[in-house]
């Protein structure tokens, strides 16, 4: 990968290494994946903004029901991702990222309307994405409502009908499966 190595100076690689959870080789690997999305554009300008749809076509993201939320959370400008955003995204999803930062980003991803709270609507949307309305995984409306009610009953400690970040964090810290499932391996 001599070509991509000359794209970054040693100092830049050092910066990336210190500010993410990757080593230098992994950063170059991530860059290679990013570049393969649209080689001409990336070769022309390293800081090019790639379209969201292009990033969502990555095999690691394609089957994910939350892929648009993931890309939206990490993008700096509306609808596109630069390489640094992409690197940030992969760093949070890597194995070495601690649970706390994963929980923060998970909260942002699942907060569909972006109001720093996971409300009933957010939960409904989430459940519908996890159980898409195809013939064998369709949930009836009252089932969804009941499910959302159960979730809030369990997790909403101060009874304000929505999950704040601390309640979310409280749940996540009790779930050991979170770390292993909220991970994308490159």
């Amino acid at each position: 990968m001599g070509a991509s190595q000359s794209v970054f100076s040693e100092e830049e690689l050092q910066d990336y290494q210190e500010l993410t959870y990757f080593t230098k080789k992994e950063i170059l690997h991530v860059f290679k994946i990013f570049r393969d999305l649209s080689p001409r554009d990336v070769d022309r300008d390293r800081n090019v903004k790639l379209n969201e749809d292009l990033v969502m076509s990555l095999p690691e993201l394609k089957m994910n029901p939350f892929k648009d939320r993931i890309v939206r959370v990490f993008s700096s400008e509306e609808g596109c991702l630069t390489f640094e955003d992409f690197l940030d995204m992969m760093s949070v999803f890597s194995e070495k990222a601690p649970k706390e930062i994963k929980a923060q980003y998970a909260f942002k991803i699942y907060d569909f309307d972006g109001d720093d709270e996971i409300s009933r609507d957010d939960l409904k949307k989430m459940v519908l994405r996890l159980c898409p309305s195809q013939k064998d995984t369709e949930l009836k409306k009252q089932e969804v409502d009941r499910l959302v009610g159960e979730i809030l009953k369990e997790a909403d400690l101060d009874n304000d009908d929505r999950l704040s970040f601390s309640e979310f964090q409280h749940v996540i810290s009790k779930a050991p499966e979170f770390e292993s499932s909220f991970r994308i391996r490159l």
Binding site: Y16, E18, L19, T20, Y21, T23, K25, E26, P59, M63, N64, P65, S76, T82, D88, F93, P98, E100, I101, K108, Y110, D115, D116, E117, M126, V127, L130, D136, T137, L139, E143, R146, L147, E150, I151, E154, A155, L157, D158, N159, D160, D161, S164, F165, S166, F168, Q169, V171, I172, S173, K174, A175, P176, E177, F178, S180, S181, R183, I184, R185
Partner: protein, 838 residues
């Protein structure tokens, strides 16, 4: 004209509101000034309320930061403010504030004692963040500041580009601080050395991480499996890799300290005839003869690979080959093989013990302790943590959706907890059934153990057919181990457990019990054989038996993979559709791995190259299983709880390790070694060399001798055990106390939530009554949609409408000042000020 409050809080288009004199409202108010240091001004000094936060946050800087946030929406200055906005501005709603509070509590790292706020992605106001970070003296430190800043920044949920900017800002301000001559005394040499050591360590860690990344085994294959099957199946392969990596140091230890010196010795030793001649010539008696190494006399035929004996008997493969002499190659240095053999054996067992103990404690802490407590989060965890982000194939994704759907359906239909509903007679029936099934299981285990013993004991089978005779015992043993677990799972289904998890764990425990019983019987047999006279070298026979067991186990794994996965897939596809999809049985395969590793631990002392054979076997098995899984199996619909199972598998591994160590220690301490072969020949017990060594210290190294005697005395060991027990008990008490605390805090939190709702209701009334005063018209009776939604969001559904109507009626009449029973008297002061003004 209808009055409609504006939820966004922008000024009402119909005209500017009556300007509120803030001084009259709040004495603590200061006029907004634009300070020249770029920090935004703060509008309201709600000092009373902020005091609490200040104490909690422990720093004036944080207080000012909060003010800075609040200033962006001049709250009280604009009395069109609605309760919704107030709710949005509550400190508990500010994501970053919570994140930093939580982070401070949970991050217990030695280096960074504080953690900081992060800004919500998308806001470009990193200047505030940089400013607040620059006020921390730890980060402004001349030497360590850079590294500490980087660490703190790395853990914040901020964009990467922003992180770089913030870091540059902070370094600039650091440079400015230094330039302004705020150098205290010159940092001593200690600080500088600490800094350079820290930097060196960090570089070393990075280089190590890079090395680990480039050497990472089987990465692409693991990724493929993960994409298709998810975390459950991958956990098996990760476990395999971990055991493989565990065997490598064992192999290197034995290689360096035992095998190579032995080879060197063989090359350089005087021949047997010369030794015999010298002995005869000088008529020496009382010579500890270093037994001449019997080089192999049998020819190499292919059979040896199967039986492990014949040609292999007198090679480095087995204990019997190793000399008890002294290797002297370079000058005068002596390398005593006896000590080397024993100490290396002890060494790798201790190494394995440390590694296992660390892994299991870490895993237990992560998966059980942190996840325990009030187990209330069943469905929330399912919804938030069930989607495996590793999945890349469409089939697996579809199966995940289906599995989630099934679980939700099961949950909603209330099948989860059924225990209380069973009446007494059913419980009795199931109890007796389970007693019977357990007896059957124990009986079958006992029967198979006796069978193995019988086969080992009778010589008839051994002598009838040459190869098969020797292989009889391994074949039968491995056959039993292969077949009985299926029988156990079938029995488990009969027992009708409520949770599938329980059924799984019971089945696994029974399988492990069976394997332990068989190994136990074999160990008993082997150590008993030592006392019989007809065995020239019982350790070598032991080694050969274990070699055969390992080999047969390997062959049976291959055969079972072939039949259970490949043939079954073919059958399922072409003839019996009823069989369904083949799934990869994670539990059974992992237990097989644990059994093989236990064999390896049992046998390495008597057959030093066994760890090498084991590593090769694991390597081959990885590829075979990976290919088989990818070709034949489909992902399972039922989710596999990888995290908890990992702890349990490590537990089984640890138990088997302890059993193996106990067996080997028994062999070393209590069984007399054979007379004519091996490093410990001619001694009462293999452990004797240690006691002789210790006794030899009595002369010159007396203090060492005394220490050793003290440490191995029963009093010392007993007191150490008592200290451990006391420590464990103390930890347990602390844990129980914490659980109680958690319960109390939850209740308190619920109460606080209700307090908040109540207060916001009061505020709602107040602002409504105030609006009424300004616009006395009947429109006040019309509810603004925003206030409706905000009130709805506060209280429970039932009382909502009632409360709303009551509040509306009350507010429509006269503004009144109701007494507020709350602990937060100080906060209420400012509200009472408001009411009294209007």
């Amino acid at each position: 004209m209808d009055y409609r409050g504006n939820p966004n809080g922008y000024p009402d288009p119909r005209g500017p509101p009556e300007q509120v004199q803030m001084h009259s409202v709040n004495p603590g108010y200061t006029e907004p000034t634009h300070a020249d240091n770029g920090r935004p001004p703060y509008v309201i000094d709600m000092h009373s309320g902020i005091q609490d936060l200040e104490d909690r946050n422990g720093g004036e800087e944080d207080v000012r930061y909060l003010h800075a946030r609040g200033s962006r929406r001049n709250w009280a200055a604009d009395n069109q403010r609605d309760a919704t906005d107030l709710i949005n501005e509550l400190p508990s709603r500010q994501l970053e504030q919570i994140a930093s509070d939580v982070a401070k509590g949970t991050i217990r790292r030695k280096k960074s004692k504080k953690s900081f706020h992060g800004t919500v992605r998308g806001h470009h106001d990193y200047n505030d963040l940089a400013a607040s970070l620059s006020r921390d003296p730890d980060l402004m430190d001349e030497f360590d500041g850079e590294t500490r800043t980087t660490e703190v920044l790395r853990d914040m949920a901020v964009k990467l580009t922003d992180k770089k900017e913030i870091r540059n800002n902070i370094s600039n301000s650091r440079q400015r601080t230094l330039k302004r001559g705020i150098q205290s005394r010159r940092p001593g040499w200690w600080k500088r050395t600490k800094y350079s050591i820290g930097i060196g360590w960090m570089h070393f860690k990075y280089r190590l991480a890079e090395l680990a990344y480039s050497l990472e085994l089987w990465r692409s294959l693991t990724k493929k499996i993960e994409g298709h099957f998810g975390t459950g199946v991958t956990s098996y392969f990760m476990f395999l890799k971990w055991i493989f990596l565990l065997n490598i140091p064992i192999f290197f230890l034995t290689l360096c300290f035992i095998v190579i010196p032995q080879i060197v010795y063989v090359e350089f030793q005087p021949s047997a005839e010369a030794v015999a001649a010298v002995v005869a010539a000088n008529n020496m008696t009382n010579v500890t003869t270093t037994a001449p190494v019997v080089t192999t006399t049998a020819a190499f035929t292919g059979r040896e690979l199967l039986t492990g004996s014949g040609y292999f008997t007198n090679t480095i493969l087995y204990y019997g080959y190793y000399t008890n002499g002294i290797v002297q190659v370079v000058g005068d240095t002596e390398y005593n093989m006896k000590y080397a053999y024993l100490l290396t054996g002890g060494g790798y067992y201790i190494l394995c013990l440390i590694i296992l103990a660390l892994s299991i404690s870490r895993s237990y802490k992560k998966n059980y302790i942190e996840a325990s407590g009030v187990f209330n989060f069943y469905i929330v965890t399912k919804v938030f943590c069930s989607w495996d982000y590793n999945i890349t194939s469409p089939d697996a994704a579809r199966l995940q959706h289906k599995s989630f759907f099934n679980e939700i359906k099961e949950f909603l239909s209330g099948k989860k907890l059924d225990g209380a509903n069973r009446d007494f007679s059913t419980k009795c029936k199931w109890f007796f059934l389970r007693v019977i099934t357990n007896l059957i299981v124990l009986g079958s285990i006992g029967g198979s153990a006796y069978c193995i013993y019988y086969i080992q004991d009778t010589d008839y089978i051994k002598n009838s057919i040459v190869i098969l005779g020797k292989l009889a015992m391994p074949l039968v043993a491995t056959g039993i181990i292969l077949v009985l677990p299926f029988f156990f799972t079938r029995i488990g289904k009969l027992e009708n457990y409520q949770k599938p998890q329980t059924e799984l764990y019971v089945g696994m425990t029974r399988t492990m019990l069976l394997k332990a019983a068989i190994l136990g019987v074999l160990a008993y047999f082997w150590f008993n054989r030592a006392t019989k006279e007809d065995e020239p070298c019982w350790e070598t026979s032991l080694g050969e038996d274990i070699y055969r067991l390992v080999l047969v186990d390997f062959v049976f794994t291959l055969i079972s993979t072939f039949f259970l996965e490949f043939i079954r897939r073919l059958l399922g596809q072409y003839c019996c559709k009823r069989l369904g999809d083949t799934e990869f049985d994670i539990g059974r395969n992992t237990l097989d791995l644990i059994y093989s590793q236990a064999l390896c631990w049992l046998g390495t002392f008597y057959s030093p190259l066994l760890s090498f054979i084991m590593s090769i076997k694991l390597f081959i098995i990885f590829y075979i299983k990976a290919v088989s899984v990818l070709q034949n199996c489909k992902p399972s619909v039922r989710a596999w709880r990888a995290a908890k199972s990992h702890t349990i598998f490590l537990g089984y591994l640890f138990i088997f390790f302890l059993l193996a160590v106990v067996a080997v220690s028994y062999g070393v301490l209590l069984v007399p070694p054979s007379e004519t072969c091996g490093p410990f020949q001619g001694q009462e017990q293999a452990y004797d060399i240690v006691t002789t060594l210790v006794d030899s210290w009595e002369g010159d190294l007396d203090w060492l001798h005394q220490i050793f005697k003290l440490v191995s005395s029963p009093g010392f060991i007993a007191s150490v055990l008592v200290a451990f027990s006391v420590g464990t008990y103390y930890m347990r008490i602390v844990m129980v106390g914490h659980k109680e605390m958690v319960k109390l805090l939850r209740q308190q939190l619920a109460m606080e939530g209700r307090d908040k709702a109540y207060l916001l209701n009061m505020l709602q009334e107040v602002s409504r009554s105030k609006k009424e005063k300004l616009r006395p018209s009947t429109e006040n009776r019309i509810l603004s949609p925003t206030s409706a939604t905000s009130m709805e969001s506060l209280t429970s559904p039932g009382g909502r409408r009632f409360a709303r109507t009551m509040a509306e009626t009350a507010a429509a009449n006269t503004p009144q000042q109701s007494p507020v029973p709350s602990r937060r008297n100080r906060r209420m002061d400012s509200n009472e000020n408001l009411t009294s003004r209007f």
